[in-house]
Symmetry: C2
């Protein structure tokens, strides 16, 4: 049996789409990892009756409720007031948080601004029936309440503050009080090169018998599977089946990206990489360097966005004229030449038409040539990606990394 958890994110900026709700994702992932079944996530506006109504709904469904947002200093921030009003208790003042606020202003503000605005006193308030959660990363106090087996956590909406407070305070509290949950066995499988229906077909119907909790999550160019089961032995058996049926497409059995998986292999083998990209325009390099420590194996990348830059790298002008800048020959030479230039073990080359314009009947928008050059040989292929400019670019990046991964694994 699971305990239900839910997430309540508060603020007009979420409803109006001004802010992307990364807090909901962070909390969903954390609560799931702790072993809770997250049953709902709700965003509502900064109004006391709305917040109180959503809190009431949540208390009817869930054991653990995390509220974020609406703890700021301005009059439209009303989450403290809403929780206090729901429980019909007054707000009280945390001297400890206020001394933190004072320190914060001393450290961060320009001298002229070191006086704490009256408005900000509010940030140290919490409902009388709650336990304050000191915020050392910002100025808004958090707090939590316990009602029998139910827990309500109220945290600031600034993502960095929320994440640090959750990891440093809430995880410990929940692990201690829901010890039986944390232990639930699970399995993550991250794959490239297969679509969702292909994966389902390869797994086959018998895979799902006897039943267990299964989720399949497609993202551009890759698919993840996440499985939870009651026993570790079930997880072990499922992993064996997955290895046999999907193994050649699995790049990780953990929550890492393809670029991270590649980074691990290149670091372990002491090999290096360089990239020359046209239509992806820097996204391939950016994806590679998103991984901390990428400088250990990634020497550099060139966005060859003009024919001049392609020629400077060593792609002959006559070849571009004869075959076109979007051709398998150019992709191949980009990979070869950037590898030579960088003196790296591998070189990646990408050229294509990201759109929305620039396509033709023979070379439509979405056409991308990818090549990987290594110490022994080069490999490459032609792809026709579906979607708008950014989707074509994203899929081309993922496919280029897939080519590389198949070479080095």
């Amino acid at each position: 049996m699971y305990d239900h958890a839910e997430i309540l994110t508060i603020g007009a900026e979420l409803l109006k789409g001004s802010t992307l709700n990364t807090n909901a994702q962070f909390l969903g992932r954390e609560l799931t990892q702790l072993g809770f079944r997250v049953v709902a996530q709700t965003s509502c506006g900064d109004a006391i009756p709305e917040i109180a109504a959503r809190l009431k709904d949540a208390l009817n469904r869930s054991t653990v409720i995390v509220l974020t947002g609406g703890l700021g200093p301005t009059p439209d921030d009303l989450t403290r007031e809403a929780v206090a009003s729901y429980f019909q208790v007054p707000l009280v003042f945390s001297k400890e948080q206020f001394s933190n606020i004072r320190k914060y202003y001393r450290r961060h503000a320009k001298p002229a601004k070191r006086l704490i605005p009256e408005l900000v006193r509010k940030e140290a308030l919490y409902p009388e029936n709650a336990v304050p959660l000191i915020n050392r990363f910002g100025i808004a106090l958090g707090f939590y309440l316990r009602q029998g087996r139910q827990w309500i956590f109220v945290l600031p909406g600034v993502p960095a503050e929320l994440e640090k407070m959750f990891k440093q305070n809430i995880v410990r509290l929940l692990k201690k009080n829901f010890a039986e949950l944390s232990a639930k066995p699970h399995l993550v499988v991250k794959m490239v090169g297969l679509s969702e229906p292909e994966i389902m077909t390869k797994l086959g119907r018998d895979f799902f018998d006897p039943p267990f909790e299964f989720g399949i999550y497609p993202a551009p160019g890759e698919v993840a599977i996440r499985i939870h089961a009651e026993k570790q032995s079930v997880i072990r058996q499922l992993k064996q089946k997955i290895k046999r049926r999907l193994g050649s497409s699995v790049y990780a059995y953990e929550e890492i990206s393809l670029a991270e998986a590649i980074g691990k292999i290149l670091t372990a083998k002491k090999q290096s990489l360089a990239a020359a990209e046209s239509c992806t325009g820097g996204k391939l390099s950016a994806e590679i360097t998103h991984v901390p420590g990428a400088s250990l194996y990634f020497k550099g990348g060139i966005t060859v966005y003009s024919n001049e830059w392609k020629e400077n790298l060593g792609v002959p002008k006559h070849l571009i004229q004869a075959k076109g800048a979007v051709s398998p020959e150019v992709a191949w030479l980009l990979a070869e030449k950037v590898r030579l230039y960088a003196k790296s073990t591998y070189g990646l080359g990408v050229t294509g038409i990201a759109g929305p314009s620039g396509g033709s009947k023979r070379k439509p928008v979405g056409l991308v040539y990818i090549s990987v050059a290594g110490p022994k040989h080069s490999k490459g292929g032609q792809h026709l990606f579906w979607g708008d400019r950014e989707q074509v670019r994203t899929k081309a990046v993922k496919k280029a990394l897939e080519y590389l991964w198949r070479e080095i694994r």
Copy 2:
């Protein structure tokens, strides 16, 4: 008076945090722009009773409800079934969508895979009381229902499909049926270089008198203001005030990115650009080339991720040794040298420490030097950005574009 709208996003991947809910942001922004007041956004799991219960809640609150997700081919996709069950009607089959699916398979799949899996037939089903919305960008049929003044739209969860279907079908339907909302005059102001409190101080209290609907939305490195008012004359007056008080930081009075604003100026002036970046690792180039038509002015970019690459571009080895790879001198030379290499009007240089490791007391994580070189002079500066690796990189990219924009505007 506003009409209330709300968003119902369906899928365990959202609750578990496997997927970031970009659809909620997209829909929130679109519905707000159409003039609706978005009062709630809810995510729930793929279960018929849950979806039906959330739909019932929404129908008690809102005039327009948009559901997305759970229209896929696998057995855990249950949104069609849930809506049909809520209205107690059967599902019927859309021949038109199925012929689209057939075309889709013919065009995209490898010859061996052109047979349509039985599973996929489900994607052409819709509740009998609904109007089908043909999906030309994917295989899942959408649909909508009308109940008096209330509208329910059900769209696929794949962001590209959702966005295209919303823009091509739903916007038109809503504009026609809620004409009084859409006409509402509004103003968008996009700014760089000022924080939210700085903007509020510069606007002053008198700006808000008499009252109107005002939203201020900070994003990494920039802030947007969105204003709605009853009369166009009010909007005109507010725009004049904003020009006087904030004008030097406004890069656009429309919904475009800073990179797009830069692209417009460079295209009009027939000037060109190149970039050499270290810590941003390709993200600066990627942001520039995200703009369609960037090849008109962007010659190329180099991710100088190793000292070797910096030296190859023309930064002297002894200078890197003396000053460090993260120094104002290196940023300046990156900008100058890439400008010379590209023979472009402008060159951008970025070097810094994105973290999480690599920082020191003198050069902490988040320290970034940025330089822009032009035909007349170079400008640059030192910045200390707060946040994790990706936040530091994103802020550095935005700041580099800000330097360039201030040079060329």
